[in-house]
Symmetry: D2
Subunit: 346 residues, 4 copies
């Protein structure tokens, strides 16, 4: 089989390493370059010994990696991928950004939340927000993809059928999310130091997490009008996984079963979204190490609330897996190629 | 010092074992009897080897334990403590129930949620709900105490000043709680089996947890009118601790700092409630193995929400510690006697 | 591609479920039957929701499952697979036993440690001990395979080059092993109850673990004479993985580097065994969810000891993965077909 | 009661913080000064929020803290406490060093393992190795105490009766130890970063851990001749606790029961050492957050080994708790004053 050539810019970070793990076994891909500003010249297995004897590629410079590639994945601190996108655009390469630079439509919003500017307005106009299941048609026709954030992915997939079908009052949503510690990345900090993170639990960045505008932008598109959310992330003492518990005021007389039917219908062709049987609760253990998003639906009849629980693996569906899914869509591969992992039961 | 005599009915369960651990070092208490239906005749150290050489008391029958005691603590499945309460009442003993039988005012509500009946209506009328900080005066004048549930304790203390001062719209509260696994007790189940509980996270009993009526009853008392809550508990892969994240619509123009000042004022004489500095987030690691309740206050200005985070150790302030606090109040001991543990930093 | 048909007897246990997960994506296999005594008639996804929408096969009876299969995997309590082996033998099916019934050469030893008898002596004679890397040629020529235990796999692979090359005094080996909790299986017990297993650590079955005779049998074959080991297993609070730390008296003047070279040579054609660079320590995190065995070599010069650290994923290389590796060998598939997982970095 | 005045030099580290937690509730102690080079001028609760409202002391300079104190505890990187000891010595203050500077008798050995010199030979001669149970009489008569390391404490207490009674061949001991992550301290590192430490397990510093000479020095004193050990530490994914599994060749025909009797006899007056019943295995969960050392005894009859399992809380008996125990001995307080914690059952 003819394979496309892929490079990963920022392969020493967690999302980059996970992406490498996936791409190395992808049937349609050859990894031609991996880079890291901090470790150029070293083998990736010296940073992640899990790659020993499997991939001992040297980390090269960005220039080398980009030149060889048909598709370039970037996993870098925000603000750094715009120039890279421009280079790819000029040279006809597909560019998939796992960072935040191509997720927000408005430069103004980006600047407010990230403190940087949009330097190439035209590229941002070309860019597509790669929530694969929902914006698949747009993804097919672009070469610049802003891969969604981990929290927004769990939340958007969880809310899409409810908002689309006007089942809920969409302007006052409470979203209580919990993320595993890989979400905080490879960088060291006191709060991710094992003895202070283990047997601990706490929210953080309440009312000011940078994923908030991204969530509202996507939900507003679903609703066709402005949506506001109260979003509270928590740090969960597990390695992987996000659970979002979403509280909505019902705007329908439908039973929970009827609501579930609409969810099943909305996702009937989607391999990676599983609407659970009524009575079950979505649990991150059932999606870890996979590209699945599990959604369970509940109601509190005495307060007339619909409660949606949505869970993903933050490193796969919430980062590297969805990036590969988007690549598959762009290049016309099987959409599950290389990401059909079955989540382990334990 | 003259010591009172205490017995624990149901000492082989988690709350009972924690109570024993606390009472053994209490300066004003002598433990005279411990019981367990399943293990009568065995030493407690055969069930919990942590007690080896410290307390190797034999588990005796309920009759023996009650007879010797001035105060009887009960930690039993619901429905079983009413007769015991009657016996204590008849014999002038103080009775502190860590179970659910004396928490709800209305027999009807109890029956609806627990499927059993109130058999001694008079005892339920005499009983006081032992949320120590709020109902201290009532506790002083009773001999039957319904010790609050773990979730309700974290939630009631977190909301008391906000409701009392009418800072929030109290009839539509969203409460997203997360509890450590000791909350599920000593009984075995697939969901608390280590390989299925570790690296997992999920809500449970959504819209139907038995603590819901207890929460609403207490908050309604604070409000002087009916309060309704949407309460969602989650199982958190840590041994101990509860974090409740509470979402409220603000009913005031006060700044967050002014709101915090009201909280500080409300709890200024309370050793065990700590209102954290603005900017900090309550974290269960800072209250584990202690009787403290930490509360942090936050706002989401763009949705006009007040967000309250309240955390306790479910086994101490949420069970055995508060039971001892109530005992201290009833008997006129220093309120922190035997429970002045400093939470370990790690 | 023409696929062989496989059935799993005992698919509701942990090893069976892991095997199912692997076989479902195996390019040369179709899973035709899965069974469970306790859950016959239910879908596997009701027991392990991780299989939802991926495999919702019903659990059938043993008869149905065996009849359809070319290869039968058994994961049952010891003593139960002998009759099944006989049926397979009679019908020309390949039989791979993940339990203990076909691991020991001598019926007497089996009886001593497992309390049951060998009923079909001829089958035990035909059976091959499926330590794939070492006994590959024998595996090729058998239809009955006793798949090695998890501890023995880590230990045998760790010691093979040292014993084979007479680098150590093989009659007094100290083996200190630590296993993740999946090794204890799906069955509930107080010691695997989350609050008692989390933040805990302890040895168990000291001097009497059933894997001892299996370890000694294999090592004795390597040595060509009787080997005795002191084997101590510990329960490690992680889901997966075994680390064996093995203490040997050196019987050579070789440097550690020379010893390592012999290890590299011994495993130079083995994909799944990785001899780490000197200075590195084998860590179970680098083999989790994979079929790799990582070995690191160390010495304590002041006591003249060679210290070997060997780590595997107990559920993959220590159970289901090696079983599939053996199947691949028997049927002439690529040896890594279906088990080429790259271990995740976190 | 008249209280002595205590200061902690290095209170921002883990051992220092634990010491503070203990001393604050000690009936005979007033904490008069706490210091930290990095945080001078800050309140301790800004570093460890667990101290909020309990102790909000400012961190001061070493000079201030020492001047006020009767007893000075030091918890500093090695090499830094010798001058401090000299100051205390000159001013008649008791000095208890939780670091390594006063543990080794020979300056030469210290230099070999720690790369620094003994600058005040006379102080090292005056210093006593504070293994409380064994060297109590010496501790009573000194003002300079080298508090034992965490690994050495578990190992020395585990081996004392066996060596003293010549039950084992003491010149070839294999010690396989596992420590919780607090043992690595507050400093950040990749290996203690939560996602890389959680669900991981590995040995480290094999054959070259700095506790080796300390262990050998103590055991040699017990034996009256040189003892050599092979010591391998492992990093265990729990917050607290050490388990040492010790393999010895038996030098006696005594039964295990007789051996246990000698252990019971040796520790019959020791509150903090618990010799477990035969058949039980020492588990770190039973000593966490306490000053206890649990010892269990086992044998492997077919290799004639005595296997000793010894467990402590590394931060309490292995550091701060034993330091307070030593202080109690020096000042003639009840030996368990302030450290009589009952280990929690979970």
């Amino acid at each position: 089989m003819n394979k496309i050539k892929a490079s990963i810019i920022g392969a020493s970070g967690y999302a980059g390493a996970e992406l490498l793990r996936i791409l190395l076994l992808h049937p349609n891909v050859e990894v031609v370059g991996i880079t890291s500003v901090s470790y150029t010249g070293q083998g990736i297995e010296t940073i992640y010994p899990s790659f020993t004897k499997i991939c001992e590629k040297l980390l090269v410079t960005e220039e080398e990696a980009v030149e060889l590639a048909d598709v370039v994945f970037a996993s870098m601190p925000h603000g750094l991928s715009q120039e890279l996108a421009a280079t790819c655009d000029k040279n006809g390469k597909v560019f998939i950004d796992l960072g935040a630079d191509f997720r927000l439509d408005e430069g103004e919003v980006y600047e407010k939340w990230y403190g940087k500017e949009y330097v190439h307005e035209d590229l941002h106009k070309k860019a597509v927000y790669g929530l694969s299941e929902i914006f698949r048609e747009d993804v097919k026709n672009t070469k610049i993809i802003g891969n969604p954030g981990c929290y927004p992915t769990s939340i958007s997939l969880g809310l899409y059928p409810a908002i689309k079908n006007q089942l809920i009052v969409a302007d006052d949503l409470i979203i209580d999310s919990k993320s595993g510690v890989t979400g905080a990345g490879k960088g060291l900090s006191q709060k991710t130091h094992y003895p202070e993170c283990n047997e601990a639990f706490s929210p953080y960045n309440i009312g000011k997490h940078r994923h908030t505008p991204e969530i509202e932008q996507t939900l507003s598109k679903f609703a066709g009008k402005e949506v506001r959310v109260t979003f509270t992330p928590h740090l969960l003492p597990v390695n992987r996984g996000i659970v979002s518990t979403i509280y909505c005021n019902k705007a329908t007389d439908m039973t929970l079963e009827e609501i579930r039917n609409l969810y099943v219908e909305a996702y009937k062709n989607e391999k990676f979204v599983r609407v659970l049987p009524l009575g079950d609760c979505a649990n991150l253990k059932n999606v870890r190490y996979s590209n699945y998003c599990d959604i369970s639906l509940h109601e509190d009849t005495h307060t007339n609330k619909l409660i949606i629980v949505s869970t993903i693996d933050n490193m796969v569906k919430g980062a590297a897996g969805q990036a590969v899914q988007n690549m598959n869509i762009v290049f016309g591969f099987e959409e599950d190629a290389g990401i059909a992992f079955i989540p382990p039961a334990f």
